[in-house]
């Protein structure tokens, strides 16, 4: 008899009788009172699962993950508890990555363009045809090719670099908002080529400038783990104080103990002014050699940055100053920062994306010398034990792309290969990338698993395996302060209806067939990884052990990689007169256009749009606004009232470079002269989930950024635009979680003293007005 809902009720009635009968046989009474003796769903746990360690590829951090696999299907992604970077924790992005594996719109197999370029008309071909076409393209116009990938390190970077070099070409990583400025600042302030690790957990005082480090900046999961420890006073520790300096009310700003909304572009001046106070008042940490940092000039080296001069530049609201001057605030901030050691200063995102971003970043990071946290809270991992494995991603900036675009246009580059990158979406429209790739004179090969704004321009699509089906590796950057090599292994096979091939393996195979064996000697990525494992075995150090090379290799796969906690961080020596040098480079930020300052930001889960095809990433509400599935424009609530704009009214943002439209969201925290717009939406081509919006509620803010560089770098100055905001007359409903629920109590206690407290029932945003 088929069990339907209706006859289930009959069964339930019968089993109540059964319950009484069973009671006689001595079953536990407690269990049976309200529970019929049918098997409860909660008891149905069947089958055996396996957890495989590998690497996540959903953001440039490449966190270590374990994947639960049952009957050949991946079920759940979780942080790898042993992996030194993320210690068992994961971001929402890692979970969402599973949907890229079983995504309905994955490209099933190789395809060839049949319609005009850019129209997305493709016809399926066989792999033999596809590889022959690629070989022919390489042989005829491969010389000077451009290979664009996501930011990659270790074996993926080594193979891509060698491949490009073998054809006289270039390999560059692509990120919409690259870390070029940060990298340059780290080089000049600390003399290092890799990015530093921050031990936030051990700090007492954290001063952050612009960087949305709890959400998207560099290695957010790692910083969040530290932040949890930073906030923890349960083990007799001290709860740290966090001050965030940022013109935009970001997720990180919302978590800080104090948020200082300074006018955009003055962050570097503020940092040097803090340094000025510390030196003038002799507040530096013990053992800090001020003479060395200032070539003997002391506070005089920073005379242009006295609090009296910088204070008014900050343009802080009088309700923050409480009748004091900006100079007073800087002095108090400097004294707090210097007296609450260990202290840490970090900066990034908007603070390094103005025209003077490099100066800002250098000034901010130099503060760490004054409080003695370099080498302690700011640590540099030692170089990889295998020197041929790149431990930094070689990511292009706007300057690099401009050169390559002109090479494509003038015919120097006739072959462009793209893997897991979408530069047509992620570069400002005025850069001309889309126009260059749509020309018939360049042959574009995409290795993407999904159609996106770049893949649609391709002449040939050779879909890669998903990262959960493929081999790979990573040297995390920033590392955890010691040597790490993470290993990515296939946890499942591709589904039978899909026919992808590993990008790395294709490069190796093609390279060898075209006579480049000396550059690319491996038959597969797996073989290259195995050679690394064997070299590590011979070194006989680190976390992995094994009596034979095979056992060692298996053990390394089981752990998700190799690391050597005994390897010491690099010792950093402050460059002589560093503060004088930075002070001499000080400049004010220049903005193009007029009106509101436009501060774009990476979306919490979509990042720069690379995850827009994943429904979980799309549906995760933005932490601050709770908006999902849409682009929104964050404007100060009162400012909106003044402009006659209500929530959901579609507004146009007009910059010198273009115009977009998106619904407005009233943010009571946003300064009145700032608008914030997330990246992530506004894809012209792609899976349904990525293109669900229309022109009213989905826009790509990169389109209206002027192609201006940060002074002294090759990176895009993405926070240097001002825009006009105007209602379009249209209105849409904002797809947000806010207002769906009644209010709840948020208990606050003051300064960790349970005796003094306020328990508030604050109302959600809807009722706020």
């Amino acid at each position: 008899m088929k069990l339907t809902r209706r006859n289930f009720l009959a069964w339930a009635g019968l089993s109540a009788v059964g319950a009484v009968a069973c009671d006689v046989f001595g079953e536990d009474r407690r269990e049976l009172k309200v529970q019929s003796p049918v098997m409860q769903p909660e008891d149905l746990v069947k089958g055996t699962d396996n957890w495989y360690a590998t690497l996540c590829r959903q953001c440039p951090t490449n966190e270590g993950i374990v994947v639960r696999v049952m009957e050949g299907r991946a079920k759940k992604v979780q942080g790898n508890p042993d992996y030194p970077v993320n210690l068992g924790k994961q971001a929402a992005r890692c979970d969402a990555g599973l949907q890229s594996l079983y995504h309905p719109d994955r490209i099933a197999g190789p395809m060839k363009r049949v319609g005009p370029k850019g129209t997305g008309e493709f016809a399926p071909i066989t792999w033999d045809q596809g590889l022959n076409d690629l070989k022919a393209a390489l042989a005829s116009h491969g010389d000077g090719l451009l290979l664009i990938t996501e930011p990659v390190r270790a074996h993926s970077a080594m193979i891509a670099d060698k491949f490009a070099k073998a054809f006289n070409g270039t390999h560059l990583g692509f990120e919409a908002f690259d870390q070029g400025v940060y990298r340059t600042a780290v080089k000049s302030v600390f003399g290092q080529d890799t990015l530093p690790d921050f031990d936030i957990g051990s700090a007492n005082y954290l001063l952050s400038f612009g960087a949305d480090f709890l959400s998207t900046w560099v290695s957010p999961t790692r910083w969040s783990i530290g932040y949890g420890a930073f906030r923890d006073s349960s083990n007799g520790g001290h709860r740290g104080t966090h001050v965030h300096i940022d013109p935009r009310f970001s997720m990180t700003a919302s978590n800080a103990d104090k948020w200082l909304p300074v006018t955009p572009g003055v962050e570097g001046h503020l940092a040097l002014s803090i340094a000025h106070v510390i030196i003038a008042e002799g507040l530096q940490a013990d053992g800090v050699d001020i003479d060395q940092l200032t070539s003997g000039r002391g506070a005089g080296a920073l005379s242009d940055y006295s609090p009296e001069r910088v204070g008014p530049m900050l343009n802080l609201h009088e309700d923050i100053l409480h009748g004091h001057s900006g100079a007073d605030l800087i002095k108090e901030l400097a004294r707090e920062f210097a007296s609450h050691t260990p202290a840490l200063a970090i900066g990034g995102d908007s603070s390094s994306a103005y025209s003077n971003g490099l100066f800002n970043a250098e000034a901010i990071y130099a503060l760490n010398y004054l409080v003695g946290s370099v080498g302690r809270q700011v640590a540099f991992s030692p170089e990889s034990p295998l020197s041929d494995l790149p431990s930094s991603a070689n990511v292009g900036g706007l300057g690099d792309w401009a050169e390559h675009i002109s090479d494509i246009k003038n015919g120097k580059t006739a072959l462009v290969m793209v893997h897991n990158a979408d530069p047509v979406y992620g570069l400002p429209e005025s850069s001309g990338m889309g126009e260059a790739l749509s020309s018939d004179s360049v042959f574009v090969v995409s290795f993407s698993s999904f159609i996106d704004d770049t893949a649609v321009m391709a002449d040939l699509i050779l879909p890669d395996r998903n990262y959960l089906e493929d081999w790979g590796s990573d040297i995390p950057e920033p590392g955890p302060g010691h040597q790490v090599i993470g290993i990515q292994q296939p946890v499942v096979n591709p589904l039978s209806e899909l026919d992808p091939r590993s990008f790395g393996d294709v490069l190796l195979a093609i390279g060898q067939e075209l006579g480049k064996e000396s550059d690319l000697p491996w038959t597969s990525v797996k073989q290259a990884l195995r050679e690394t494992s064997d070299s590590l075995y011979d070194m006989n150090k680190g976390s992995v052990s094994g009596s034979t090379k095979d056992i060692y290799w298996n053990s390394m796969l089981r752990n998700g990689g190799w690391w050597d906690a005994s390897s010491d961080p690099v010792t950093v020596q402050a460059p002589s007169g560093i503060l004088n040098d930075i002070a001499s480079r000080g400049s004010e930020a220049k903005f193009s256009g007029d009106g509101f300052y436009l501060i774009p930001f990476l979306h919490n889960t979509l990042l720069d749009g690379r995850n827009a095809h994943l429904p979980w990433a799309q549906s995760a509400p933005d932490p601050v606004t709770s908006v999902a599935w849409q682009t929104w424009v964050e404007i100060n609530e009162k400012q909106m009232e003044g402009l006659g704009i209500r929530e959901g009214d579609v507004v146009s943002l007009t910059s010198n470079a273009g115009r977009i439209t998106a619904p407005a969201y009233p943010n009571p925290g946003m300064p009145p002269d700032i608008v914030g717009v997330p990246l992530g939406q506004g894809h012209k081509h792609g899976p349904d989930y990525a293109t669900v919006g229309d022109a009213k509620d989905s826009a790509n803010v990169i389109d209206i950024l002027s192609a201006v560089r940060v002074d002294g770098t090759r990176s895009l100055a993405w926070a240097s635009n001002r825009v006009q905001v105007q209602p379009t007359g249209d209105s849409v409903r904002v797809t947000k979680l806010e207002g769906e629920y009644e209010s709840r109590e948020i208990g606050n206690i003051i300064d960790n003293n349970p005796g003094e407290e306020i328990i508030k029932t604050t109302t959600p945003g809807e009722e706020h007005h």
Binding site: D43, V66, P668, D751
Partner: protein, 263 residues
């Protein structure tokens, strides 16, 4: 039939001071528990299904403004208002402190949803549809709920059952904090949370990290909240639902509205 169990009483402590609002718990939960996709339409219909969600509250306005985050999930109340109103006994309290929903008893009266003061019960207005290929990801340990069924957070009971089978039945060890963490047996949200704002454990285990908070809050009822030694409180204590989820208050170093001249 489950019997002869070690007597657990599960509970969770949520430290609001550590929650940054990052959404890692929200997506980890959806991946673990076969929660239907929250499409753009479900947001427009105000029918978003998140067994754990992050609520954000505004306090003040520019320039003295704070956004507060609070993760809200089923509170697994000892005096659960959802339980007595169910005509089908579809929701009941099990012997481990969990408020459990028996999907194949639920007929969709939604009385429980109306009666839950925490708004953490969700109704399947439509058949939960996934694109066919995405169904490969569904967790075989968790029932896919059909249309007309109410669903809610289970404290990832499927993980606890697997843990009991593997740790307690097979090796005879007690399922303590360490065993929960080591075997990936704690709820998915707890494992994911990067700042460790969520802590899960057994209130009957003397060594559990959550124990001191429960002891403190249990010993001091609502009328004596100032005597508590920890930051612990329960949501809506005045309705006396006795949740098995305890919140730790946000620590405010610079509370708003305290214009004491401190810049």
């Amino acid at each position: 039939m489950v019997s002869n169990r070690i007597d657990h009483k599960w509970g969770m402590v949520v430290d609001i001071d550590k929650c940054t609002g990052c959404q890692a718990c929200v997506i980890a939960c959806q991946a673990e528990n076969n929660i239907p996709l929250n499409t753009k339409d479900t947001f427009l219909q105000k029918r978003v299904n998140e067994w754990i969600r992050i609520e954000r509250y505004w306090e003040g306005e520019y320039p003295n403004v704070k956004a507060r985050y609070i993760p809200v999930l089923c509170q697994h109340c000892d005096n659960a208002p959802c339980e007595p109103v169910c005509p089908m006994y579809a929701t009941y309290h099990n012997d481990q402190g969990l408020n459990v929903q028996v999907y194949n008893r639920c007929v969709g009266t939604r009385y429980c949803i109306n009666n839950c003061p925490y708004q953490v019960r969700f109704f399947n207005y439509w058949h939960p549809g996934w694109p066919e290929r995405l169904e490969n990801q569904l967790n075989p340990d968790v029932t896919v709920r059909s249309r007309g069924i109410t669903e809610k957070c289970t404290f990832c009971v499927q993980r606890l059952r697997r843990a009991e089978l593997k740790v307690e039945r097979q090796s005879g060890n007690r399922l303590n904090d360490e065993a929960l963490e080591k075997g990936n047996y704690a709820p998915a949200c707890v494992h994911a949370c990067p700042t460790s704002a969520l802590t899960f454990g057994d209130q009957h285990d003397d060594g559990a990290k959550i124990r001191s908070y429960f002891d403190d809050v249990n010993a001091h009822n609502i009328h004596h909240e100032h005597e508590r030694e920890t930051r612990g409180y329960r949501l809506m204590e005045e309705v006396n639902t006795r949740p098995n989820v305890i919140y730790l208050k946000k620590v405010d170093q610079y509370p708003l509205g305290k214009g004491d001249g401190h810049v």
